[in-house]
């Protein structure tokens, strides 16, 4: 769920692709190559004295790692499904994992190798999208909530309806991403975020159309800029990114509205047909190891699903309600599961109508 500064990522992706190209030619050794496909800025990479996780793995397991990044689940899925790329490890989000399980695109995890997964917190040992974690091992998680500028918004907004408040006309940002946008409307109307009921979805579309009265600005990555300089007063976004924004602008605050919200999990999976099944399992186990997992979580600011990593974090981070909300907040949150194709199609058609009008 990380969509941080995709501009930069586009450049980095191009650079890493170029690097991958050149390394193809030079590596004549018999070392196996593990191909990893992850969100941008989603691993500790050695910047600013952090651990270079990829390099560590290459040394410990005597292999090469080809590391590439994507910026949306759909982009990753399209690339894999079209057969234009091959990867051994991918780190998609919950609903995409269930879609890929349904389409038989993932290998089961070998828990005889991935022993560090025993360290997962109890509530991450089984998930809605992948019962028993048969095909995926949680990597990070977080909630979606409302980021607001305390100097521009009176009081604490407690409802998603703040995004429909005409007092903030022209100062509201909205997801440019239909699943997240419909998720907010669904919560506001008291529906499930995984509704497949056409009437409910139509009602959400009407509500989102009604939002046009406050002239929302539909954005993804641009949100960082716009919230940090005070261009906008209110925006829905991911908790981990809210932490980043608040560190840039202390006037910002984050709240999970009372109607409830989305809790997402990004998890590590092995792609079906991999030639490096053993090494892929070792990679996942390595990523769950205390030192590595801690370096990653400190780097990316999202929440960890691993108990000992959580225990070792600074008290300041552990008590941060944005990153580690209490059970009361989590009980209001729902996670996405995959929707049937016709529901996705309906949502996408309605969404195009909303934003293209």
């Amino acid at each position: 769920m990380k969509r941080k500064l995709s501009l930069l990522l586009a450049v980095l992706t191009a650079a890493s692709a170029a690097a991958a190209f050149s390394s193809c030619g030079s590596s004549s050794s018999a070392k196996p190559t593990l191909k990893v496909f992850n969100w941008g800025e989603y691993i500790s990479d050695g910047q600013d004295d952090t651990l270079d996780v990829i390099e560590m793995f290459e040394e410990e397991f005597n292999c090469n790692v080809q590391y590439d990044t994507f910026s949306t689940n759909e982009e990753m899925y399209t690339k894999l499904a079209s057969g234009s790329v091959e990867y051994d490890i991918i780190i998609p989000s919950d609903y995409m994992i269930s879609k890929m399980i349904n389409e038989d695109m993932l290998e089961p995890i070998d828990y005889d190798v991935v022993t560090n997964a025993a360290n997962l917190m109890e509530r991450f040992k089984t998930t809605d999208y992948d019962p028993g974690n048969a095909y995926s091992v949680p990597y990070t998680w977080g909630t979606v909530g409302l980021i607001y500028n305390t100097t521009m918004v009176e009081g604490t907004p407690t409802s998603w309806s703040a995004l429909w408040d005409e007092n903030y006309t022209g100062k509201i940002l909205m997801f440019l991403n239909n699943r997240d946008a419909f998720g907010i409307a669904e919560k506001l109307l008291g529906y499930s975020q995984n509704s497949t009921n056409a009437d409910e979805i139509q009602a959400c579309a009407d509500l989102l159309k009604d939002q046009k009265k406050v002239k929302p600005n539909y954005v993804m990555d641009e949100i960082f800029d716009k919230m940090e300089i005070g261009e906008a007063a209110l925006a829905p976004y991911y908790a981990g990114d809210a932490v980043t924004m608040i560190s840039e602008n202390p006037d910002l605050a984050f709240v999970v509205p009372e109607e409830g919200s989305n809790v997402f999990i990004d998890a590590m999976c092995i792609v079906k047909g991999t030639e490096q099944y053993e090494l892929a399992n070792q990679f996942i186990n390595f990523m769950c190891r205390d030192d590595v997992a801690q370096a990653n979580i400190e780097y990316i600011c999202y929440s960890t699903p691993l108990q000992t990593v959580y225990d070792n974090l600074d008290e300041e981070i552990r008590s941060n309600e944005i990153i580690y909300p209490d059970d009361e907040v989590l009980s209001r949150c729902e996670s996405f599961v995959v929707l049937p194709d016709d529901t996705n199609q309906l949502i996408q058609d309605l969404w195009n109508e909303i934003i293209a009008e």
């Binding site: 949306t72 022209g170 239909n178 539909y218 800029d225 195009n352």
Partner: protein
């Protein structure tokens, strides 16, 4: 035998075009064929269908908006670029080189970054409104408007209008203009009767090179239009990277867009009957 030797250089010349022909086959003809294939098949099956085109129909308004905004941008580029091209063509050689450089300079930076920069300039809390605020004016709503999209198009594609115009106009001999003046033509008639007709190939190339990328852009409308002024390029992108993978409808949209561009180009090219020397592409 004599004839054969005369033919040989010609064959060699043909041979040198092979790398480009292979390139074109691989990266233009084959992808184009795939677009046509996807447009007429019901993905993931391979059955023939026209359903994809029916799916495009409801986006008629967006097609119209894309063409409308791109036409405005093209006209603005022409109005700004024509005098600029002429002034440049009358400069000293040194001046011409400097101007060429200045016009190309922004293109050395990433297109994405330049468009992103406009976003931060145009925002309500952006540099322009902050500056105006010093004098108590504004703030003006500039970002997230259709005007901002047109501005983005003009800014990004203006060089592609000026350069072909300049390259045609620089070939207009000063003595032709002087002859017209000697024969009693005033400034207006020199422009209408002499410069304009001679510049037609440049105008046609310029229009093509501004209109085509403008009508298919998706990043300018997304960054400067606030995501609620979607153009046809955005819709095509959605078909591939949105929540539904829909290559059929995406390809049908691309195909319709291509046909529309070809038709518009066909009309424009009629003005440029046999003068092709100004063509850069």
């Amino acid at each position: 035998m004599a004839e054969q030797t005369r033919h040989r250089p010609f064959d060699m010349a043909k041979l040198t075009s092979v790398p480009y022909l292979v390139w074109m086959l691989l990266f233009t003809i084959v992808p184009l064929g795939m677009v046509v294939w996807y447009a007429f098949t019901a993905y993931p099956n391979t059955d023939f269908t026209l359903q994809n085109f029916a799916g495009v129909l409801k986006y008629g308004k967006t097609f119209w908006k894309s063409i409308y905004l791109s036409l405005i941008a093209t006209v603005v580029c022409l109005i700004v670029g024509f005098p600029m091209g002429f002034i440049m063509s009358r400069m000293s050689e040194r001046g011409q080189r400097t101007m060429q450089m200045l016009i190309m300079l922004p293109m050395w930076m990433s297109f994405l970054l330049r468009t992103y920069a406009w976003m931060t300039l145009l925002e309500n809390e952006g540099l322009i409104n902050k500056f105006l605020g010093l004098f108590g004016i504004g703030p003006f709503q500039m970002i997230n408007t259709q005007g901002a999209i047109v501005l983005g198009m003009v800014y990004n594609y203006l060089p592609y209008m000026i350069l072909p115009l300049y390259s045609v106009m620089v070939k207009i001999d000063q003595s032709v203009i002087e002859a017209a003046q000697d024969l009693g033509a005033d400034g207006f008639h020199v422009l209408i009767r002499v410069i304009l007709p001679l510049a037609v190939p440049g105008i046609v190339t310029g229009i093509t090179m501004v209109f085509v990328p403008s009508v298919s852009t998706f990043i300018i409308s997304r960054m400067l239009g606030g995501g609620s002024n979607l153009l046809i390029g955005d819709l095509i992108e959605q078909q591939f990277l949105g929540s539904v993978y829909n290559p059929g409808v995406g390809s049908a949209m691309s195909l319709i867009l291509m046909v529309m561009i070809l038709l518009i180009m066909g009309v424009i090219n009629r003005f440029d009957s046999d003068e092709m020397e100004g063509m850069l592409v």
